[in-house]
C-alpha cells in the first residue's frame, strides 16, 4: 500500500485499511476507534450498571480474548467500576481444550483478572471423556452441546454473577440471520439479533442470567486486526467438526457478500433486527425503532458455545437434507389436502431440540396439532424413501388448511425444569434428562473426593 497519512491523526503513516469504513488509519488510531465504538455500543444501550459483576465467557479464542482486553481497557478508561471475571468451561476432553485453556490462563495473568475454570466434571458429575466412554460415541455431541449451553449459566451462578458477556461478532450474528431465514426459524430470527437476552433477575435462579454481546457490531476481520496490533495471545478454537450445514452455507454467503460490499454485514444485522420486530408475537409490531434494548427471553438452544458445532450429533450435510425432506412432505400433504397414509412413529432423534426445529420449519399449524381439520397427520418423520401414494380420498380440499399453516408460529412456553430450575420448555430440562440416563446406566464407582466444591 503506498504511503498514506492516517485519516484520523494525519501524522503517522496509515498501516490499516478498515474493512468496515474503508478508512486508512495508523494502528493506534485504529485500536482507539475500535475501543471507542465498542464503548458506544455499551453506553448507548446501557448494557452495564456501575459496579456490576460481569463474567466474560472466555474460550481462549480471538473473540473472547479481544472482548476481555477491550472491556478491561474501557473499564479503566471510563471508570465504570465493573468487576470483571473470566469464566472458562472445560469439557474434559484431553488434548482438545488444553491449549486454549492455557491461553486463557495466560490472558488472566496479563490482564490481572480472576479466572474461574469450570469443568463438566464438576458441573454435572461427568466429563466428556467419561460420557464418551459410557455412550461410546453415540450422540456424544448431543451431550456436549447441551451441557455447554447450561455451563456458562451455571458457572456464573456459582460465581454469584448475573451477567455474562460473550464475544459474538457481527459476522456471527449475520450468519445467524441468514441461517434462520434459510431454516424458516422465525422465533430464533427474533432472538438471534438481540444485544441482550435474559433478564438478570433472580426469578429463574441461574436460568435468568443475562447474556449480552458487546462486540455485536464489530467485524470479525477487525477483531483479528485488533488482536494482532495489541499482540494479544489467543488460540483458535475452530475444532475439527464440520460446520453445521446451514451455518456453513450461510457463512459462505456472508463471505461473498463481504467481498462485494463490506458494509453489507452490518446491513444484514440491521435487517435482522428489523425483521425481529416484525415477527408476530414479538411485541414490537410496527412501532418506531427505538434504541432501547429489549431484554428478550432466552431459549436455551440459542446459545452456541465456541468449538463444537452445536450438539445435533448428526453429520452436517444431513441437516439441510433433513429439513428439505420435512418441508417437502409437508408441502405435498398441504397440496393434496388429503389424508396421507404415511404414518411414522414420532421418532425423537435428538429430543427436544429437534422437535422444536421441526416445529419451526414446517407450517406451524400442522406440526403442532395432531389433528388438522379432522385429519390426523403425524409429521415427525425421519425415515425416508417411503414412496407411498397418498390416497386421493373424495374429501374436498379443506380451505382452512392454508389459513392454519400461514398462522403465526406458536409461542414457546418457557418454564422451568423441575430438577434444577433451568429454563426449559419441558418439565425436565435436557441436561437433567441426559444426566439421568447416564447415572442410571452405570453407577459411578471410584472414590469421590468428599464435598465437591467449586
Amino acid at each position: 500500500m503506498p504511503p498514506h497519512p492516517c485519516e484520523t491523526c494525519h501524522t503517522s503513516r496509515a498501516q490499516i485499511l478498515r474493512p468496515s469504513t474503508g478508512t486508512r488509519l495508523c494502528a493506534p488510531c485504529f485500536t482507539l476507534a475500535f475501543e471507542t465504538e465498542t464503548a458506544a455500543t455499551i453506553t448507548s444501550s446501557q448494557l452495564f450498571h456501575p459496579g456490576e459483576r460481569i463474567a466474560i465467557g472466555a474460550s481462549g479464542g480471538k473473540d473472547s480474548t479481544v472482548l476481555a482486553s477491550v472491556l478491561q481497557t474501557l473499564n479503566a478508561r471510563y471508570a465504570w467500576g465493573l468487576e470483571l471475571v473470566l469464566l472458562s468451561i472445560d469439557e474434559g476432553i484431553a488434548g482438545y481444550r488444553d491449549h486454549s485453556l492455557e491461553a486463557v490462563k495466560r490472558n488472566a495473568e496479563v490482564l490481572g483478572l480472576p479466572l474461574k475454570i469450570l469443568g463438566y466434571e464438576e458441573l454435572y458429575g461427568w466429563s466428556m471423556d467419561e460420557v464418551v466412554a459410557q455412550v461410546v460415541r453415540k450422540g456424544n455431541c448431543t451431550y456436549c452441546g447441551v451441557f455447554r449451553r447450561q455451563a456458562l449459566d451455571r458457572g456464573a451462578a456459582a460465581l454469584g454473577v448475573r451477567h455474562v458477556v460473550t464475544g459474538h461478532n457481527a459476522d456471527d450474528v449475520a450468519e445467524t440471520v441468514v441461517m434462520n431465514l434459510l431454516r424458516g426459524d422465525l422465533a430464533r430470527l427474533g432472538r438471534g439479533t438481540s444485544l441482550v437476552t435474559g433478564t438478570g433477575g433472580l426469578e429463574g435462579g441461574f436460568a435468568s442470567v443475562k447474556r449480552s454481546k458487546p462486540l455485536m457490531w464489530a467485524y470479525e476481520k477487525e477483531i483479528v486486526m485488533y488482536a494482532h496490533h495489541m499482540r494479544l495471545d489467543y488460540f483458535s478454537t475452530e475444532c475439527i467438526y464440520s460446520p453445521e450445514a446451514f451455518r456453513g452455507s450461510a457463512r459462505t454467503l456472508i463471505k461473498n457478500l463481504e467481498r462485494i460490499r463490506p458494509e453489507s454485514i452490518l446491513d444484514v444485522v440491521r435487517s435482522g433486527i428489523d425483521m425481529a420486530r416484525l415477527v408476530p408475537g414479538a411485541g414490537g409490531e410496527g412501532g418506531s425503532r427505538s434504541r432501547r434494548v429489549e431484554a428478550m427471553s432466552r431459549d436455551v438452544e440459542d446459545d452456541t458455545g465456541g468449538g463444537c458445532s452445536g450438539g445435533n450429533g448428526e453429520d452436517a450435510g444431513g441437516e439441510m437434507a433433513r429439513v428439505e425432506e420435512t418441508l417437502r412432505l409437508n408441502e405435498r400433504a398441504d397440496e393434496e389436502g388429503t389424508e396421507t397414509e404415511i404414518r411414522l412413529p414420532a421418532k425423537a432423534t435428538n429430543g427436544q431440540r429437534h422437535d422444536r426445529d421441526v416445529v419451526h420449519t414446517g407450517p406451524a399449524g400442522k406440526v403442532l396439532s395432531p389433528t388438522v381439520n379432522g385429519q390426523n397427520h403425524d409429521r415427525h418423520r425421519h425415515t425416508s424413501n417411503n414412496a407411498t401414494v397418498p390416497h386421493r380420498t373424495k374429501q374436498e380440499k379443506k380451505p382452512n388448511c392454508k389459513a392454519a399453516s400461514d398462522a403465526a408460529p406458536p409461542r414457546q412456553r418457557l418454564g422451568q425444569c423441575e430438577r434444577c430450575g433451568y429454563l426449559s420448555s419441558q418439565a425436565v430440562c435436557k441436561a437433567c434428562m441426559l444426566l439421568e440416563g447416564l447415572n442410571k446406566a452405570r453407577p459411578r464407582t471410584g472414590i469421590e473426593v468428599g464435598g465437591a466444591g467449586g
Binding site: 431465514l181 424458516g184 457478500l257 435487517s271 410496527g286 427505538s290 418441508l327 401414494v389
Partner: protein, 363 residues
C-alpha cells in the same frame, strides 16, 4: 425404474416407472422428487398459479365491470408463462360461465438495455398469439418524468442539468448493486403509475419462488428487510395508491417454470427473450442481487423446499405500519417508513442514499 410394483402397507402399489399422479403415462420430468408426465406437470404448474387467483374468480366479478389487472411483461420465461396460463384461465372461465372474473392489460417496459429489435419482434409475436388482451409499452426513462424524480436524482449529480437521462445516471452510480437497485425501483414506480393511469386494480408480478427468495436475501443484505412483507405479500395495497401487488407464480420454482416452457405444447420457447450469459463466479463487480441469484440457483437444485420456505417465512412477518396517509413518512425511492432509518429531514432512507451515491461523491 422398471420392476414389479412394490406393495406398501396401505395396499396401494406404486409403479415408479410411471407418472406418480396419473400412473398412466411415462414420466418426462421429476418435480421435487416426484416423476410426472407432461400432462400432469402442466396441470401442476397451472394449478399453482390459478390457486393464487382466488380473488378473481368469476363469482367475485360484476358483469361488465370485471377488474382490470396489469401484467408487466419482461419477455423472460416467468412473465410469458404467466401470460400463457392466465390466457388459458380466462378462456376456461368464459367457456364455463360465459364471462370472466377479470381482464388483463399487458405492459411492456423497454429498458433500453440492448436487443431492442429482438425484443420488439417478440413483443409483436406475443400480441398476435394472445390478442384478447390490451397492450401498451413504455420506456423505462419515463420513470424519470414521474413527479419528484428529477429533483431526487439531481441531488447527487452536481455537474449535470435537468432533465437527467437514464444512461447518465446509471453510469455515474458506483456499483453494480446500485444500478440494479435503482433499475428495480424505477421499474416498480413506472409500473405502479401505469396501473393507475389504466385504472388497473392490481398488478400481477411474475416473480417465481426462487426470485422472491433472492429478493428476500438481497434486501436483507442491503438493510431493507423491513420493506419485504409489504412489497411481497399478495393483495397488499401499495402506498397511497390502492393498487395491490400479487405474485401468482410465488409457488413455482424458476426451474419448474423453465421446464414448462418446453413441455407445454405449443411450446413457448420462441417467445422468450434470450438471456445474456451470466457470470458463473461472483467477482467484486457483481451486484448483490446477482450473488443471491447464483446462490439460489444452486440451492434450488438440491433443496427446493428450502427455497420455498424462505419465501414462506418472510410471508409470515407482519407488515410494518406507518401512519396511513402520511406520505411524508416514506422514502421517496423505495417507499419504506423513514422513521429511524433516515437522517433528519431526509427524503431518502439510508439504504437509498447509498444507492444513489455517485463516484464523485466518494461512494
Amino acid at each position: 425404474m422398471a420392476g414389479p410394483p412394490k406393495t406398501r402397507r396401505d395396499n396401494v402399489a406404486v409403479d415408479n416407472s410411471l407418472c406418480r399422479r396419473c400412473q398412466t403415462n411415462a414420466p418426462t420430468i421429476t418435480v421435487r422428487t416426484e416423476p410426472l408426465c407432461s400432462a400432469c406437470f402442466n396441470k401442476y404448474v397451472s394449478t399453482k398459479i390459478i390457486k393464487r387467483m382466488e380473488s378473481f374468480r368469476v363469482r367475485h366479478a360484476e358483469v361488465g365491470q370485471e377488474r382490470l389487472l396489469l401484467l408487466p411483461l419482461s419477455l423472460r420465461a416467468c412473465s410469458i408463462v404467466l401470460l400463457h396460463i392466465l390466457s388459458q384461465h380466462l378462456r376456461v372461465q368464459g367457456e364455463k360461465s360465459g364471462r370472466t372474473g377479470y381482464r388483463l392489460h399487458v405492459l411492456y417496459v423497454e429498458d433500453g438495455k440492448g436487443e431492442a429489435s429482438e425484443a420488439s419482434k417478440l413483443y409483436e409475436l406475443i400480441q398476435h398469439r394472445y390478442p384478447e388482451h390490451t397492450y401498451s409499452t413504455r420506456p423505462l426513462s419515463d420513470a424519470l418524468a414521474l413527479p419528484g424524480m428529477q429533483e431526487l436524482l439531481i441531488q447527487n449529480q452536481p455537474a449535470a442539468t435537468i432533465p437527467l437521462d437514464l444512461s447518465t445516471i446509471l453510469t455515474t452510480l458506483t456499483s453494480a448493486t446500485s444500478r440494479t437497485d435503482l433499475h428495480h425501483h424505477l421499474l416498480r414506480k413506472l409500473v405502479l403509475h401505469s396501473a393507475q393511469s389504466h385504472t388497473c386494480s392490481a398488478i400481477l408480478w411474475a416473480s417465481s419462488t426462487t426470485r422472491l427468495a433472492e429478493r428476500t436475501l438481497a434486501e436483507t443484505a442491503k438493510g431493507r428487510a423491513f420493506a419485504l412483507p409489504a412489497q411481497t405479500r399478495d393483495g397488499e395495497a401499495q402506498l397511497g395508491t390502492g393498487t395491490a401487488f400479487y405474485y401468482p407464480m410465488r409457488d413455482l420454482l424458476r426451474k419448474e417454470v423453465l421446464s414448462y416452457t418446453s413441455l407445454v405444447s405449443p411450446d413457448l420457447e420462441e417467445l422468450i427473450l434470450d438471456e445474456r450469459p451470466r457470470p458463473a463466479v461472483s467477482t467484486r463487480d457483481t451486484s448483490i442481487d446477482e450473488l443471491m441469484r447464483q446462490y439460489f440457483s444452486s440451492v434450488e437444485r438440491e433443496y427446493p423446499s428450502i427455497v420455498a420456505n424462505v419465501v414462506r417465512t418472510t410471508g409470515k412477518l407482519l407488515v410494518e405500519r406507518v401512519e396511513e396517509g402520511w406520505l411524508e413518512g416514506r422514502c421517496e425511492l423505495c417507499d419504506v417508513g423513514l422513521r429511524g432509518r433516515a437522517p433528519e429531514r431526509s427524503r431518502l432512507c439510508f439504504g437509498c442514499i447509498r444507492v444513489l451515491q455517485t463516484r464523485e461523491a466518494g461512494g
